[in-house]
Amino acid sequence: MKREGWGTCLVWGCFILLPFIAQAMGSMYIVTLATRIAILAMVALSLDLLVGWSGLVSFGHAAYFGLGGYVVAISSFHEQDGTTLFGFAGSHEALIVWPLAILVSAIFASVIGVLSLRTRGVYFIMITLAFAQMLYYFFVALKIYGGDDGLALPARNVIAGYKITDARLYYFLCLGLLACVWWGLGRVVHARFGYVLRGAKISERRMKALGFDVNLYHLTAFVISGALAGLGGALWVNLDRFVAPDMLSWTRSGNFLVMIILGGSGTLLGPVVGAALYIILETKLAALSDYWQIVFGPLVIAVALFLPRGLWAYVRERLS
């Protein structure tokens, strides 16, 4: 517990000090990069509720991430266009659009969850992937909203009428939301709910025999996880001011899984460390060479082979 606290302080310290260091170095690019990390860390954390804590490997998490993004972009599109969708005139008010993104992702997650949770193991991996692919091709075919080319956001969402133009302000907003998600998930996994999930990961049959409706717990975890990924997607689209079906692609789902495993699944710090590591490595290597994958691929394999429980778990063990 003590080591955990030490790592937590370090990570959050880095996150908070970063914009000031970036300012001293005169590079605003670092702030954008850190914003990316904060958003992806949020999505990775939410996915880890399924993967790490419940043992349900979902290979379609990009679907909810992308749905959240599309809700934001489509709302702005209709606001700009003056047209309506299902009677909704569109909006670029974050206080309306972001909860809507969460809601839409949660609804999709509950439908997909009910159907997918009938299966386990490899079949579960595949069916979540199949649903994500369906949504991916749905948005590719949706020509009104750009289809394959994607859709640009005319402007970043406003919050209660206030425009966020400063990169650092947006960063701290994302960081604040990440902190909320982190704290909330921390409460969730250490509550009865989390213990039931963890118990079911080890033996579903025993938890059922104890009288827990495991399916309901799994479904709840699935919906929470999807909803938070939707929030992540909304933030992501606001950062890039652009959405494309690529946000729902299976490689992105794969990336989220890689982040979790890289850092260490079934911990709170692991996914955050993993997301940071992934983005930093990818950016650094891509800047070095066009063929960065030749180095990055074997690095990922090495982690899988030698640090199967992730970097953070390894560091924690070495320290204690």
Binding site: V51, V57, F59, L115, R118, T119, G121, V122, Y123, I125, M126, I127, L129, A130, F131, Q133, M134, Y137, F138, V140, A141, L142, K143, I144, W250, T251, G254, L257, V258, I260, I261, L262, S265, D290, Y291, W292, Q293, I294, V295, F296, G297, P298, L299, V300, I301, V303, A304, L305, P308
Partner: protein, 304 residues
């Protein structure tokens, strides 16, 4: 009518190519229990090896040989160096490691050959057309591809049903520990199965090379469809892979060909086009979702 027959043939050809990939992957999944995302990379590398040998020697036979031996050796190496250590681990670790492998191979091809698609000539002798029905000439090469798929299916069926290796594979997919306890060298069995799967993936790659362009990312596209096939068919079952591959190949091809025109019966022209293209790309996944919801272990599950 002619269009329907032609599209059915196209669907069968696509399905049989998918079968080549799915047969190997379903065995790897079923017996070793590893999630193998790099199967599509082996398909891509087989296609590249074939295309390069084809341009150098312009002999299709040599191209096939090169693709087969290259993917086979690669399969041996991957199993020996990596998969062997991962078998007993969690699915998550498999995803991570094979995802890394996909990145590595994509980078390697981009570095070695470049990112532009490579075009591969088909064999001169098979360039012609065959008159299947009146007014329906069909490319001979595509028929040959179908033939290869069917021959491989027959060979695999024979191997599974009538050889000692097939018996061990069937036994291994049900009771791995028991087979090992009976004194079978399970490591060797895994090595053979994995390399055989790689070989079939390479074969699929080199056969499809002259039909589609050879490029980075071709493996990932087809990999997902292959997953759909084996999940629909039931993991570990060759027969399931065959049925699943034809089902997926047909529904994908026929959906693309006819969904827009069918929808035009009810919808306006532009709406039907938009809906049709969405529907046809989604169709395969709808089929899979329905199969999994009705029969969570696939159409031909291996009995426990």
């Amino acid at each position: 009518m002619i269009l329907v027959v032609e599209q059915i043939l196209n669907g069968a050809q696509f399905g049989l190519t998918l079968f080549l990939l799915a047969a190997g992957l379903t065995l790897i999944f079923g017996i070793m229990g590893v999630v193998h995302l790099a199967h599509g990379s082996l398909y891509m590398l087989g296609a590249y090896a074939g295309a390069m040998v084809m341009t150098m020697t312009s002999s299709f036979l040599l191209a096939i040989l090169a693709a087969l031996s290259f993917s086979f050796i690669l399969g041996l190496a991957i199993e020996y160096l990596m998969m062997r250590r991962l078998c007993a681990r969690d699915h998550l670790v498999h995803v991570l490691a094979t995802f890394g492998l996909v990145l590595f191979f994509n980078g390697l091809v981009a570095f070695g050959v470049g990112r532009a698609p490579v075009f591969m000539n088909g064999p001169q002798e098979l360039n012609g057309f065959v008159l299947i029905m009146q007014d329906l000439p069909y490319p001979l090469y595509r028929l040959v591809v179908m033939g290869v798929g069917l021959v491989v299916a027959l060979l695999l069926w024979w191997m599974m049903a009538h050889t000692r290796l097939g018996m061990l594979i069937r036994a291994g997919s049900l009771q791995r520990e028991m087979v090992a306890a009976l004194g079978v060298n399970i490591d060797q069995l895994f090595l053979i199965v994995f390399a055989l799967g790689a070989l079939l993936a390479g074969l699929a790659g080199v056969m499809i090379g002259p039909i589609r362009s050879v490029q980075i990312g071709m493996g990932e596209q087809v990999l997902i469809l292959t997953f759909v096939v084996i999940v629909v068919g039931g993991i570990g079952s060759i027969r399931g892979a065959f049925i699943g591959a034809l089902l997926v190949g047909m529904s994908d091809t026929l959906g693309r060909a006819f969904a827009p025109s069918l929808l035009k019966l009810w919808l306006s022209h532009s709406q039907a086009d938009a809906m049709g293209s969405a529907l046809s790309s989604i169709l395969v996944y709808v089929v899979m979702a329905i199969v999994l919801i009705v029969r969570p272990r696939g159409l031909c599950p291996i009995e426990e």
